[in-house]
Subunit: 367 residues, 2 copies
């Protein structure tokens, strides 16, 4: 199969970004500029972890006119949860804040995106699960990533689980893209090492998948290559959590997000989605678990991945899908094989011939 | 000297970009979407070369309500020329077009930027030469690069020469950044080989300078590295003008523009500016001429540059500053040494101790 057009057309960039140790100090000034236009209040979505970090909260410039919502990150957001938050904000007079801030990892940044869209577009979150269904720009929004790797700060989607339809699908829209990102590597200093590694590997893995794919273009390739390059510096040279490496990984996450905006993932993400749906594993650790079985598909990157694991002395769970019931393997197969676009990207249109139920089960057992 | 903060803060991205063979076909639709909002007319600034390419002009979707201005590119735009174009547009009823299109190389894209700013901000072009002097967003503007390398499609400035003050300085402003870029590699197929090479080398050279500088940050470095990587593919592997390589160089130009938005050039650009000011040489060929004397400062890149020249069988003018008058060497020295920021970036604050008048003259004689 030769290289195919990605079909990705007009790409929406994040409008502005600021990066570097101390970038967070600029936030109150950035927000003040918004406050003078139109309404005054701002809604802050903040990862619940920061409840225990009053020093950081104090630096955000939150006023008594604002509303802070701490986001629990045990589970990925459901469409119901997004609806509920939106209704509550409307009820307490925050129907039209002048800005929404999402400070946290992928989950928190995604919640802020979804609520921003819903406040201006009306209806329910599930009405917008799909592609280009949002009609009106959302509330102006600012991302402050406190975990690096998913690229949520740069992408045009926000992952949501619909419990009624069992659909895990975001609001894919240009309007979902952030207006402003504030990247301050100070914020990732307190992340547990294993979580820092798993999340960072999301950037590495989706760029590996993109570069090995059939659907490609010159700019997606460029972003992917440089993201992988940065990940090599971070995870193969010295301590991955040194101040310089935390800044590099923050940049890698952003550029990796730009990469997936113009390309597709491959084999790892569909298998990882299977683990999330059936066994409830978090996306980033699930990706790393899938890498246990990826030697035949991404041989060089498989070796490099395990070198990074060893160098940074991180544990990747093992045997997690080894002794499951037939029913569970059925479910795993079903929730892997539905990812048509990534699997076609990796294996071509006849991917079902390669990935039979037996083969998929065998792969899961290798994890 | 250790690595210093660039001081670059909140960076404005181009809002949208489209890339790939055939991207130009999307233009009429993109413009139609603007036409339905507010006024209907559009001003097209087009490199005068395209007068002889009616097939391409026909694809732009120009209507009888629009105005086309063909831009001569023998000289860099003067503030007087920008003022004159702006007055003429106002006089013939184009004071508030719904969009401005700049289709060409750096000069044409810069003219479109400057006129867009001036139409909404009033006054004269020279009033805005400097940093952050523009107060109001310009007319919505679209860049269609037809030459790859300068990065004008991505940067926040537009070079203008002020004949009264002899100042070569742009309107450095977030408002100068394009709203939309359309990157169609088909458009660079007819560029003369030497011009294609010189212009492409602008991207390579400013990224080499940035990566060797004292002022750095993680994202500027990332953009620079990938730009250089793309230039290596284009100029060291096969024909630099193959369709794939033309797409790669278009991406390199854009990412190189993103790189200079967050970093500084070094030694080459000040010497190159000297050649432009005193001998009237075009920016991109002047850069290449300066590379003749850069072995002591960028030794590895010097070797790589000349390998690229050889591989692509391009001529770089030689001996151009070898036998000049004392007065001309005085002028060359003066117009090189004033570039304080780039020279500090390259050599540190005491750069005048290294770059004495004798030394600078010797360097020019090596070209």
């Amino acid at each position: 199969m030769s290289i195919l057009d990605t079909g990705v057309r007009n790409v929406r960039n994040v409008l502005r970004y600021t990066v570097g140790e101390g970038a967070l100090s600029e936030l109150p000034k950035l927000l003040a500029a918004r406050r003078s236009e139109g309404t005054y209040s701002i809604v802050f979505f903040i990862d619940a972890f920061f409840k225990s970090q009053p020093d950081i909260i104090a630096r955000l410039g939150i006023t008594s006119d604002d509303k802070t919502v701490f986001v629990a990150t045990e589970e990925e957001p459901s469409t119901d949860a997004i609806d509920q938050i939106t209704i509550q904000l409307r009820d307490i007079g925050f129907a039209q804040p002048c800005a929404i801030v999402g400070m946290g990892g992928g989950i928190t940044m995604d919640v802020a995106k979804a609520v921003s869209n819903l406040l201006t577009n009306g209806g329910k979150a599930e009405d917008y699960q799909g592609w280009d269904l949002i009609k009106t720009p959302g509330i102006y929004k600012v991302a402050i990533p406190t975990l690096s790797g998913t690229g949520a700060e740069a992408t045009r989607t926000c992952v949501m689980t619909n419990k009624r339809t069992s659909l895990k699908l975001g609001m894919n829209s240009d309007f979902t893209v952030y207006d402003q990102i504030v990247m301050d590597p100070m914020l990732t200093a307190t992340v547990p090492r294993s979580q820092y590694f798993y999340t960072g590997m999301d950037a590495y893995i989706h760029c590996v998948e993109a570069l090995a794919g059939n659907y490609r273009n010159a700019i997606g390739d460029a972003y992917s290559r440089e993201t992988i390059n940065l990940c090599r510096q971070v995870f193969l040279e010295g301590d991955m959590m040194s101040p310089l490496n935390r800044e590099r990984l923050m940049v890698a996450s952003y550029l990796g997000g730009c990469a997936i905006a113009t390309s597709y993932v491959g084999l790892v993400h569909p298998f990882s989605a299977g683990l999330s749906v059936v066994l409830g594993l978090h996306h980033c650790v699930a990706n790393c678990i899938v890498m246990r079985a990826m030697q035949p598909y991404y041989p060089k990157e498989f070796d490099e991945f395990w070198k990074m694991v060893e160098k940074q002395e991180v544990d990747i769970p093992e045997g997690i899908a080894r002794n499951l019931s037939d029913y569970q393997y059925e479910q795993l197969y079903a929730s892997t094989i539905i990812h048509q676009k990534p699997l076609t990207n990796a294996l071509g249109e006849e991917y079902r011939n390669t990935l039979t139920k037996e083969k998929v089960t065998k792969i899961f057992k290798q994890m």
